[in-house]
Every structure is written in C-alpha cells, then in structure tokens.
Amino acid sequence: MSTHDSQLKIQAFLDDEMSARDAAEMEGLIANDAEARALLAELRNTNAALAAGEVECRLPETREFFWSKIEREISREMPVAAHVPKMPWLGWLRRRWLPVSSSAAVLTCAAAVLVSHPRHGALESGEMELASDEVGSYVFRDQKQQMTMVWLYDRNAEAALARPTSMVSSGRESDLE
C-alpha cells in the first residue's frame, strides 16, 4: 500500500467514491495490510475531527450598514430610464446645479437637526426631502455609535455613485469609508 495511487484508493474507499465492486476488492486488501489499515484509521480520525465543524464567525458590520452597501450596488446595477430634457440648457442646469443645491439643502437641514438635538441621533426623528429626482440618497443609522450618515449622489452620473457627494455625521468619526 505504499504507492500514491493505492493511498488515493483508500481515500476513495473512505469517501464512498468507488464502485461497489472496487470497494469490495479494496476492503479485502485493507483487511490484509496493516499499513493500509493505519492510514485508513488516520483519515477516519481526521474526518471525525472535522465533523465538529468550523468556528462560528460573524460579519464584522452592522445589519444596516452592510445592507446599505448592497442596496447601493443593486441600485447602481438597475437601468436608469432615459430622460431627454425639452430644453437642453435646462437639463444642463439641473444636472449641474440641482444636486449641489439639494446637497446644500440637506446639509443645512441636517446641520439644523444636529444643532437642535446633538445627543439624540440627529436624523432619527427628522425628515429630509430631496427636491430633485436626479439626486438620490442613502441614510445609514448606527444606534450603538450614535451616528447617522447621509450619502447624496447624482443618479445620472454613474461615477458619482462610487463615492459620497457629501457626508453628514453625528457622533464619532466612522470607519465606513
């Protein structure tokens, strides 16, 4: 039983990866070979140990934060309906200025809430509304850290999705970047 091929056959026998005929033949060989029996016993012991399973492992991110990243990726993959403005200059104006003005508005709202409720999770009870359909937002709230983050992005500019346009945070600096 010293050849590599015969050792692999012992393993195949253990894993039930042999035909019934080959398995019967192998059983006979193992019965008459002490070395083969020792190897089979070692492989069985290892399998028995592995049957205990793996260490329990938990995702090192909160449910909300992990989901916010998945949701953002899913939204990015979704096709955005084609939109042709009736007046090209209006389209340009909306693309360039509305996200900025909306961001400014949100920042102002968030700042106002932060100032009025600095210790109770600024955006928890407040509501924000974006003026444009072209601006999207994601909000992540971590109760434990007492922190709220708001991502704003231009739906038309895919590149802008990749990074936060602006970020509002209450509480400690986060490790979410």
Partner: protein, 201 residues
C-alpha cells in the same frame, strides 16, 4: 416595491424569496440579515482575510439579487447563496495565484509527493476535546494549509461536494482533487497532533 401584508421577520425563506423575486427589497434585506453571517463565514474560511471576505460576501449578495429569478428552490436559499460566494472566492483565489510566485514546497505539494513521506498519525489527536476547543484547533490548522488544500477540504468536508463537483468548480482534474484532498487530510492530522503536543508542553 412595497409589501404591506408580508411580515418579513416571521416569513419563511421561501416566502421571502418569492416576494424578493417580485421586487420586494425589504424581503431581500431580511434574507441578507438571516444568512449574512453564514455567507461571510464561508468567504472568510476560504480567503482568510476579513476585508476580502466582507467584500466577497457583499458581491455575492448583489449577484444573488441579480440572479434570483434563476433560483428554483432545488436547494435551500442558504445553500444557493453559499455556492455563489464559493465561486466568487475561487475566482479571487485564482487571481491571487496568478500574482504570486509558487514556492518549492507548494509545487511539491501540487505534485503529490510530500504526503507519502509523512508518518501515519496513530493516536487520535482530538480525543476528549470540547467541541469549541476542537473547532478552534481545526481553524488554526486550516489556516496553515495552502489555499488549494484548504479549499478542497472545505468543499468536501463542510459543503459535502463530491470529487467530480469539486473538480468542476476548481477547474482541475478529479486526480488533482484526490491528491489535494489526501494531502490536506494528512497535513491536518499532523497539525492537529502538533497542537496537542504543544498543549502538553
């Protein structure tokens, strides 16, 4: 996109999958919440890097959403998602392998010669160990295997895949799978025995 009637936390996986297929994002979020640890754990066990495992499990969930219509319920949703993350991990490990230089030891292992020289471990190194302690030792030993050997062991022992299926996923021959599995098991036996010896010292 809204489901007013469905109580997501108490709904079964099957119900949530059905709702998610109809566009209910909250149903999908509930599925993520239920299975995220399992998916992350599988990714971590394969790549052994926390950041990579988080990224890969996130990517798996996005793919899961995109391919949800393909899920027919032949296996459980958790098993289906695990298969997705395994494939992503295998791609990642292939990319890593292309970037690294093979050591002589790894090449020898790949050729299947090293394990023949290892003496048989006669005692059971994990006898009378508590389950938690045993799992910890297994994890330590798994961490010392090469990616190829660890992967084949995980797929066979923890995911219950047959040689043929492992070969297909790892894009190698059945002979290579058998060789890698044999080496991985023998090396595990030695590593577990060494851990026991170290404890006595």
């Amino acid at each position: 996109m809204k489901s007013n009637k469905l109580d997501h936390p108490s709904a079964s996986d099957e119900t949530l999958v059905g709702a998610a297929k109809r566009g209910d994002m909250m149903a999908f979020e509930e599925l993520v919440a239920r299975h995220r640890d399992k998916i992350y754990a599988r990714a971590f066990s394969m790549v052994r890097n926390e950041d990579e495992a988080v990224d890969l499990s996130q990517e798996a969930w996005v793919k899961g959403w995109q391919r949800l219509v393909q899920f027919q319920g032949d296996s459980s949703f958790g098993t289906w998602m695990t298969r997705i993350v395994i494939n992503l991990c295998l791609d990642q490990l292939r990319r890593r392998k292309r970037q690294r230089t093979e050591s002589i030891e790894v090449i020898n292992e790949e050729m299947g010669g090293v394990e023949r020289q290892m003496p048989v471990v006669t005692s059971n190194p994990t006898e009378r160990l508590e389950r938690a302690e045993l799992r910890k030792r297994i994890d330590q030993a798994l961490g010392q295997l090469s990616h190829e050997h660890r992967t084949v062991l995980i797929l066979h022992e923890f995911e219950d895949l047959e040689y043929k299926e492992i070969a297909k996923r790892m894009e190698c021959s059945i002979g290579t799978v058998m060789s890698r599995l044999f080496y991985a098991r023998r090396k595990m036996a030695v590593l577990l025995a060494n851990l026991k010896t170290e404890e006595f010292k």
